[in-house]
């Protein structure tokens, strides 16, 4: 993996800590990670807490409008935010998730599944937080192949060597 750093003309490295597991927040780490890899950077992504779910074989990402007044969906030429009291009703999260996925497909935004596959294909190093596996009782066999296990020291070692560090 480290050899990748030496085959480009101006190789840099990036480390990303992904802590969030909702459909919307799955995007920033995977977009930046795959793009950096496409730009010949050596990329390591460390998945912890809710971010760990992004490594599950079976991805069923959801999102919620709850607690997010900044989320305004385009609707009939306007933008609408959903009041929390409505966002909390049964089925609303499911509807909002479906709406977001439709909107993304329509606008040519990649699915998280596709971006994750691109990350694997471009040799992005994927590290699952061992403590999170223990805490939430997730088995490493639930995760996609090629994932390494590690802890804080692993993440910090990678970050110390990286030119660019993101926490998301």
């Amino acid at each position: 993996m480290l050899d990748n750093a030496n085959d480009g003309s101006n190789s840099k490295s990036m480390s990303i800590i992904a802590t969030k597991g909702t459909l919307d927040w799955a995007y920033p780490p995977f977009i930046l990670g795959t793009t950096a890899a496409a730009m010949d950077m050596e990329v390591t992504m460390f998945f912890t807490f809710y971010g760990l779910g992004l490594l599950k074989k079976d991805l069923n990402l959801k999102m919620s409008t709850l607690g997010n007044p900044a989320m305004e969906m385009p609707m009939m030429g306007k933008h609408m935010a959903m009041p929390n009291i409505i966002g909390g009703l049964p089925g609303v999260d499911k509807g909002v998730t479906a709406m977001m996925k439709n909107m993304m497909a329509k606008k040519g935004v990649a699915s998280i599944e596709d971006l994750r596959e691109a990350a694997v294909e471009s040799d992005v190093r994927l590290i699952a937080c061992q403590m999170t596996l223990d805490l939430f009782e997730i088995k490493d066999t639930d995760l996609i192949d090629g994932v390494e296990l590690g802890g804080a020291a692993t993440a910090i070692e990678v970050a110390g060597l990286a030119d660019i560090n993101y926490f998301m």
Binding site: G8, S9, K12, T34, T35, A38, M39, K107, A110
Partner: protein, 74 residues
Amino acid sequence: MADQTLDAKGLNCPLPIIKAKKALKGMSPGETLAIESTDPGSVADFAAFCRQTGNELTSSEQSGDIYNFEIKKS
């Protein structure tokens, strides 16, 4: 004529870059890749991509809603 072409129309960030990288990977140094995109963000992004990777952006033009790029593999 470019050695290879990539139709990235309708794709949004970062797919044009990722698909371009994939295409370049299978090409030889000196060969050219022509890319068609509809993503306005790809104008800045292909320039940045080429600066970072050392590939040469030999052309970047807009015609209507289509952005045309040509990259020469380093």
